[in-house]
């Protein structure tokens, strides 16, 4: 192990080894990250809540467990959780005024899994309100700034998780992805983000945006770290009826498999109008790299790609319109002052408690489901969803992995798209279809343009995260894009 590498630059694998070799303790490691958060996060705003006291206690417990031997791999390693995962006794806001006072009496399954593995929680990361957004400008707690360019967005909705990992404020973070909310901010922040297969990670305690699309996953600096994180996150949970009861492999085992002969498909629809040429060029470079590594490249077609954005913006808001009905000011969360009757209580609590984008999606969703419009919108969108899935089924008859850009452009400036919802929605054009089809996808850094990172996306068939992580890890063994870090002004 190289002593010159700072703690915050080390991967999970290195940190885990370092803890076992007693180069440092979990308490030291945890304090190091807490200090960095304290020093640096005022410029990024990537955390909503920092749980310093609890983190130090958890680190002490982890140190004892490490000393006793037999501790799990992530024991003692600090991680950050997106503020969409319920944490017992710790405010879980979903970045909404509506839940600014909400302290859950239970943990999300994902949070429990990390606690059981001995990981230390640093805090809760910022996000777009209720995971609705692609820029993190929709947070009640203010936008997160991209560590590579603080005048630009980090992407969303998991902007806080991506920015905190990019800025080395956390070695890894949890996140969720409904239409690209892990992969798009990972791309914009130059980190690795994995959206697993729908049903791979329990949604219990993960606050719902669009239930049939939401899926939790990790944001890390490397594919290997993503494998370690997924080992902890994945697994059957009978509390989530949509969770699949399928054995969880050790995702680190297959990382070093050869990708000689791996069949990679390049969808022509991902390289058309709207794609920033610099992104296109970086992705072309990645394709060449894969060819060099022995992969077999071919062009494929996903003909319904263009329809996936409109279909998503019917289905997701429709589900959200029902999922968010529980925030009514009656049992918990925000309640307006002095309601004069029930109607007033509902209207003002929701009117004052939700931000504009959330209201927009609730209205769109309620409209799409209303009598007389259901067939034209919701049913039609579900038909498109099946066509999108069919596109992938066809493609996977011929290729193992589909490769393309994660986003059409690099991180954009604050305010650039926030007044134009349609432009903002097109940010997710390459990521949304994997959610509609329930497929796993990973974004990893593959270059940069004008100092901003570019993300490469790999998508594979359901429950083949091993293949994705293997292909991503092999890429990272031969390239150094993932090792680039934004300028660091910290003293620690």
């Amino acid at each position: 192990m190289n002593d010159k590498v700072a703690l915050h630059d080390m991967t999970l694998t290195d940190l885990s080894q370092g803890l076992r070799d007693k180069h440092f303790s979990s308490s030291e490691l945890t304090k190091h990250f807490l200090e960095r958060i304290e020093q640096l996060d005022p410029q990024y705003n990537s955390f909503i809540t920092v749980t310093s006291d609890q983190a130090i206690k958890q680190a002490q417990a982890a140190d004892e467990r490490l000393a006793s031997g037999n501790a799990p791999l992530l024991c003692g390693i600090p991680v950050a959780h997106k503020d969409i995962f319920c944490t017992q006794g710790v405010k879980t806001s979903c970045a909404s005024k509506m839940l600014d006072n909400f302290v859950p009496p239970y943990n999300a399954a994902v949070v429990d899994n990390f606690e059981k593995s001995g990981a230390v929680m640093l805090g809760k990361t910022n996000m777009d309100e209720f995971a609705m957004g692609s820029s993190n400008e929709n947070s009640f707690y203010g936008p997160v700034k991209n560590p590579w360019a603080t005048d630009s967005v980090p992407g969303g909705s998991s902007g806080g998780s991506a920015a905190s990992v990019a800025a080395r404020l956390a070695p890894a973070a949890t996140a969720t992805d409904t239409g690209g909310s892990i992969r798009q901010p990972a791309a914009l922040c130059g980190v690795t983000g994995l959206k697993p297969t729908y049903g791979r990670v329990s949604r219990w305690g993960m606050i719902a945006y669009a239930s049939s699309l939401d899926q939790g996953g990790p944001i890390t600096r490397t594919a290997e770290d993503a494998a370690l994180m997924l080992n902890v996150m994945a697994g059957f949970d009978q509390r989530d009826s949509t969770c699949i009861d399928l054995e969880v492999p050790d995702y680190t085992k297959s990382l070093n498999n050869s990708i000689e002969g791996l069949k990679i498909g390049i969808p022509k629809e991902y390289f058309g109008e709207g794609l920033d040429p610099a992104i296109g060029a970086a992705v072309e470079g990645a394709i060449k790299q894969y060819e060099k590594m022995g992969a077999v490249i071919s062009e494929i077609s996903l003909p319904h790609t263009q329809l996936s954005v409109p279909a998503y913006y019917v289905i997701a808001p429709a589900e959200a319109s029902a999922n968010l009905s529980r925030y009514d000011g009656v049992r918990y969360g925000y309640r307006c002052e002095n309601p004069h009757d029930l109607q007033d209580l509902y209207m003002r609590s929701r009117g004052e408690g939700f931000g504009d984008e959330v209201k927009r999606r609730i209205l769109v969703g309620a409209y799409a489901l209303s009598a007389g419009y259901y067939d034209a919108y919701y049913n039609k969108a579900q038909q498109v969803r099946r066509l999108v899935k069919q596109d992938y089924n066809e493609a996977f008859k011929n290729v193992d992995i589909i490769l393309g850009p994660t986003t059409p452009s690099p991180a954009f400036k604050f305010g650039e798209k926030s007044q134009d919802p349609t432009a903002m929605y097109l940010e997710d054009i390459y990521t949304i279809s994997a959610n509609l089809a329930g497929l796993p996808g990973i974004s990893l850094p593959c270059g940069n343009t004008a100092g901003k990172p570019v993300g490469l996306q790999l998508i594979s068939d359901v429950f083949t995260e091993e293949r994705l992580l293997n292909a991503a890890h092999q890429f990272q063994q031969h390239t150094d894009h993932h090792l680039q870090a934004p300028a660091d002004s910290a003293n620690v």
């Binding site: 859950p104 949604r203 219990w204 719902a208 669009a210 009826s241 968010l324 529980r326 309620a366 209303s370």
Partner: protein, 483 residues
Amino acid sequence: MQWETVIGLEVHVQLATKTKIFSGASTAFGAEPNTQACAIDLAMPGTLPVPNEEAFRYAIMFGLAIDAEIAQRSVFDRKNYFYPDLPKGYQTTQLDRPIVGAGNMEIQLSSGKTKTIRIHHAHLEEDAGKSLHEDFQGMSGIDLNRAGTPLIEIVSEPDMSNSEEAVAFAKKLHALVSSLGICDGEMSQGSMRFDVNISVRPKGQTELGTRTETKNLNSFRFMERAIALEVERQIDLIEDGGTVRQETRLYDAEKHASRSMRSKEEANDYRYFPCPDLLPVVFDEDYIEAVRATLPELPEARRDRYIEQYALSSYDAETLSGDRELSAYFEAVTQDCGDAKLAANWIMGELSASLNSAELKLANSPLNATRLAGLILRIKDGSISGKIAKQVFEIMWASNQSADEVIEAEGLKQVSDTGELAAMVDTVIANSAKQVENYRSADADKRPKMMGFFVGQIMKASKGQANPKAVNDILIEKLNKLL
């Protein structure tokens, strides 16, 4: 004009599962408010529903009992509306793919005829909580104990044409779900609630009139009265030149009046869509057949068996077979005493009347089947008369004693000894010179009627313990000697 009425029912039946349909919270009735509502029932953020298999099994049992198709794949939908006792802001229910398809049920009418009522479908759904509008000084209290209790909603076709048929159907459903053991049948606790769709039309017209829905009736008597009231209201309205509005109405049993709750125009757009938190539920043939194998004897089969095996009248058989507890009681008494007819008479007569006046349920009867059978045995073997038996019954009702103990302790054993009875008869004849004279001078065909006086005197003298048949025989013999 002659009018005819068309009635259809929607019946909410609370399933007697131990826990809720999508959570592990208890469904027991009567707990302190909000003590049986877990994070899922409270719709806390991030919680998810997990289906309760028992609820599905109960729904399938119902479906099999009405000879309905069971959907091998059924889907849950969300019905969206805001109300404080609906924590998620939507009810999880089934719209297009209910678990139980079309079936039918036969009802018996007082005319002796039977009629088949078709059932459109039955679906599974969750109950809402309760809003408490009293005792909170201008505010409402919310009790979420009931939220998430499993229900099946049974929807009939509009096959009933008067309140008798509707009530017969409702009672039949009650008997069926109680017999199946899928519902506790406690109407007063809201375990069964009826929505009645009513329309009227000129006799002979095929087109249906505009219907109204009277919601949430929870007793057969209220249902009968509410139907009568609504039919009268609609006919009066039309005869006065008005038209019936499609609307939902509420019946106030205390005032025997109904009022409009909301019109069709004011009805919610529920924005139904498939619930993305629940996958379609799939049952294979084997599962359904395994459930079929667990079905208990159904009331109709039991009724037929009572007629066949015990030679009961169809009225007695119908009454005793309808309720599982009652039929079990009846069969236990019959087995112990060996006389189904006497058992039926005593259960439907004395026992039922005593339970009613004490406002007790059969389960809490002070007199169990064994003790009642003991009483009937003494009637059968002539130890006591039917009249004395009623006295014995009353003492048994208020004590733990067996029939034999009561008879012994009170000295109520019937006197059948002819010597003893002959002495009593002689005394009565000797003390009734006038009546004896009348008897002698009367026409022969009038004499049997006049016997009553003497029998009465003897029963009185014996404190009711004289064996009436023996008394009769001795009396005739002695009086005839005087002729």
